[in-house]
């Protein structure tokens, strides 16, 4: 039994009187691709916010590679090896693709407070940035402003920026939202490639993508995980069917 790289234990979150997450237990194994699915409003994005440090859980604990991370700041969690992308594209719109990726690359190279060197001349940073750009197939758009990219290109940029810190765990929040068939297939392949060797937790609505990409799937309904298993297990699970399609009524 491999030790999980990301563990949630009894995580709960309330906003005022509304309890959004009602006790979630999940284990993500190292290197696995794990999808999180569920109806709208189930709390998937909220769960991401809790794991990545945007919000603090009301109770429960979250462990990253054995280290407790619930309640820590987003930057601390990122430095411990977890990176996330956003459902609504969250890049630097007025800067070029190259600059966007370079900003993400600078921090792992410990350059955040440096005023003593010429960033353009820094070979490791430049090469790393170019490598990332190549990985997400954006080299042709190197000087384009991020705010002017096509939607799917922006999503690719998001993924690229998420990879820059070489995280053990990647959280992708609906990376394929709003894409066409071809774009979805392309991005799914991209994700498969770039997350090799890392743990991936992905929220996605497109079932084809989920079943082709994920090794395990968890189903979140009303803030609780009602089932976890391989895609085939989930497909056959009665509770999941009920959640998505409604209860069967004997006629």
């Amino acid at each position: 039994m491999r030790t999980p790289v990301l563990s949630l234990r009894g995580v709960r979150k309330s906003f005022g009187d509304a309890e959004i997450i009602r006790g979630v237990d999940i284990d993500i194994l190292p290197g696995e691709r794990h999808a999180l699915i569920g109806p709208n409003g189930a709390g998937k994005s909220t769960l991401f916010h809790l794991v990545s440090g945007n919000h603090r859980p009301t109770s429960g604990s979250i462990y990253l590679a054995g280290r407790r991370i619930d309640g820590q700041s987003p930057q601390a969690i990122n430095r411990h090896g977890l990176a996330r992308s956003f459902q609504i594209t969250n890049v630097f719109p007025g800067l070029s693709v190259f600059e966007n990726l370079r900003l993400a690359v600078m921090r792992p190279h410990r350059l955040q407070y440096s005023i003593s060197r010429w960033i353009d001349g820094d070979r490791p940073v430049r090469e790393e940035t170019e490598r990332l750009m190549d990985l997400v197939r954006l080299t042709a758009r190197v000087h384009a402003l991020a705010g002017e990219l096509a939607y799917s290109e922006q999503r690719s940029l998001e993924i690229g920026m998420t990879l820059a810190s070489n995280p053990q765990v990647i959280l992708l929040d609906e990376p394929m939202a709003g894409m066409s068939r071809e774009e979805t297939a392309f991005t799914a392949n991209l994700i498969r490639e770039v997350t090799r060797g890392r743990a991936l937790l992905i929220v996605e609505h497109d079932m084809d993508v989920v079943f082709s990409l994920a090794e395990r799937v968890s189903v979140l309904v009303y803030g609780e995980v009602i089932a976890t298993g391989t895609p085939d297990d989930i497909r056959a699970d009665a509770a999941v069917r009920e959640a998505y399609l409604g209860a069967e009524v004997p006629v």
């Binding site: 990545s52 700041s73 987003p74 930057q75 990122n78 430095r79 990176a83 996330r84 956003f86 969250n90 890049v91 630097f92 719109p93 007025g94 800067l95 070029s96 600059e99 370079r102 900003l103 993400a104 600078m106 921090r107 792992p108 350059l111 955040q112 407070y113 440096s114 005023i115 003593s116 060197r117 010429w118 960033i119 353009d120 820094d122 000087h143 384009a144 402003l145 705010g147 002017e148 920026m161 820059a164 810190s165």
Partner: protein, 433 residues
């Protein structure tokens, strides 16, 4: 920025040469104005580090200018008037004070963002403004603190020319440093603060710490500007913390253009020069500056520098000959608008002045005596008097409409975030610095 970096290089070199030659070309009075222009340019660029590059609107930058000024004047007075350091190094005191106070103030202020941040910076400046008169030891009360420049390294620093060269050297060095800063990792990170500080946290950056650093640097350069001011004036007074002084870099930076590196410097130099040139002729100079600022915020948000680049791009696109009519129309419209506004303001200024009102009350034969303006006498009661500004403004309006039609294609071709998503290199003008 500028498409051709060689162009930019030549322009900068020419400017530096001009600055070096200035004392031989100008009178003492104008040279003094040049010193003021340089100091204002540095202050505006220091301000823009925080505002245009990091996206944090500060309305209380006079605090760091003032703190730098007072630190420098005390350094000047230290050791019985001999000065803590030789005269050319005095602005270092301003830098140190600006850095320290900036770090402290920035720590508070950057805990919030946007509107809250702006209010906090304002309140910090007001705090100092209300506190200073009471701390007589440090700020000298009503009369302020004064000192004398001491000779150093064989130069007497007694003449304006000496002070000019000292100021010029410091300002050029600081501007160079500020430019080099934009090529460092922290400099690029500063732009990230403006574009999306939220995402930076998720990329592992301690956003608060970075913000404090940038704030402190901006305050440091403002402190140097304050120090230079004091080396020039040999005096510092608590009015340096006045709101007017905080307003100046804001107006200058936006009038010049915040997205271009030297934009604020250009805005500051222009405004300071005009202020100096017309201060004898009119009491309403600040009003004109305010009107210009509002007009720019409403119609030309990228400032004069941004406007220049857009015009240059348009001219390159359509050819000088075809561009001529549109440019002429636009320039004429601007001049007529200025003339009409100035006429109206100056007329009103004189009509509402105390001495005129006394005159009007005393006059028996004519209820409204004539006003002397631009070499002529105008009767407020006469229709012609008001027809002149009306005609000027109307002509300006007509020409503006004509010019707008002629240059309509200009906006579409060079708008960086246009619907047509132009990919020409011209579209990059005015975007990330």
């Amino acid at each position: 920025m500028i498409r051709s970096t060689r162009h930019a290089g030549f322009a900068v070199a020419a400017l530096v040469l001009l600055l070096v030659a200035l004392p031989h070309l100008l009178s003492q009075g104008l040279l003094n104005a040049a010193i003021q222009m340089l100091i204002a340019a540095l202050f505006a660029c220091a301000y823009n580090l925080l505002c245009g590059q990091a996206g944090m609107l500060s309305f209380g930058h006079a605090a760091y200018f003032g703190v730098g000024a007072f630190a420098t004047i005390h350094a000047m007075k230290a050791l019985g008037g001999a000065g803590l350091v030789p005269t050319p190094f005095l602005p270092l005191a301003g830098a140190a004070a600006g850095l320290a106070v900036g770090a402290a103030a920035g720590w508070f202020a950057t805990k919030r963002s946007g509107t809250y941040f702006a209010m906090i910076t304002l309140a910090i400046a007001e705090l100092l403004h209300s506190l200073a008169p009471h701390l007589k030891g440090w700020f000298g009360g009503e009369s302020g603190v004064s000192a004398m420049r001491m000779p150093a390294f064989g130069i007497s620093f007694g003449s304006t020319t000496h002070v000019y060269y000292l100021t010029m050297a410091w300002v050029l060095a600081c501007l160079a440093a500020l430019y080099l800063y934009t090529r460092t990792p922290l400099g690029r990170l500063t732009l990230g603060l403006r574009e999306n500080s939220h995402r930076l946290a998720f990329l592992g950056y301690d956003v608060h710490r970075v913000s404090v650093l940038v704030f402190a640097l901006s305050a440091m350069f403002s402190g140097i500007a304050g120090g230079l001011q004091v080396v020039n004036n040999e005096a510092a007074n608590y009015v340096l913390f006045d709101m007017q002084l905080s307003a100046a870099p804001v107006l200058h930076a936006f009038i010049g253009g915040v997205k271009v590196f030297l934009g604020p410097a250009i805005g500051a130099a222009l405004m300071t020069f005009f202020g100096y040139a017309v201060s004898d002729l009119t009491q309403s100079w600040l009003l004109y500056q305010g009107i210009l600022f509002v007009l720019i915020m409403m119609f030309m948000p990228d400032g004069l520098a941004g406007l220049w680049f857009r015009c240059a791009a348009w001219r390159a696109r359509v050819g000088t000959l075809r561009a001529m009519p549109g440019l002429l129309a636009a320039i004429s419209a601007a001049l007529l608008l200025a003339a009409g506004t100035v006429f109206t303001v100056e007329l009103l200024q004189r009509l509402f002045a105390q001495d005129y009102r006394a005159l009007a009350r005393a006059a028996v034969t004519q209820p409204w005596p004539s006003v002397h303006l631009f070499g002529r006498d105008w009767l407020p009661g006469a229709v012609e008097t008001w027809l002149v500004p009306l005609a000027l403004l109307a002509a300006a309006g007509v020409l503006a409409v004509i010019a707008k039609r002629m240059v309509r294609t200009m906006s579409y071709a060079t708008e960086p975030r246009g619907v047509t998503a132009s990919t020409t290199p011209l579209a990059q003008a005015g975007s990330s610095t």
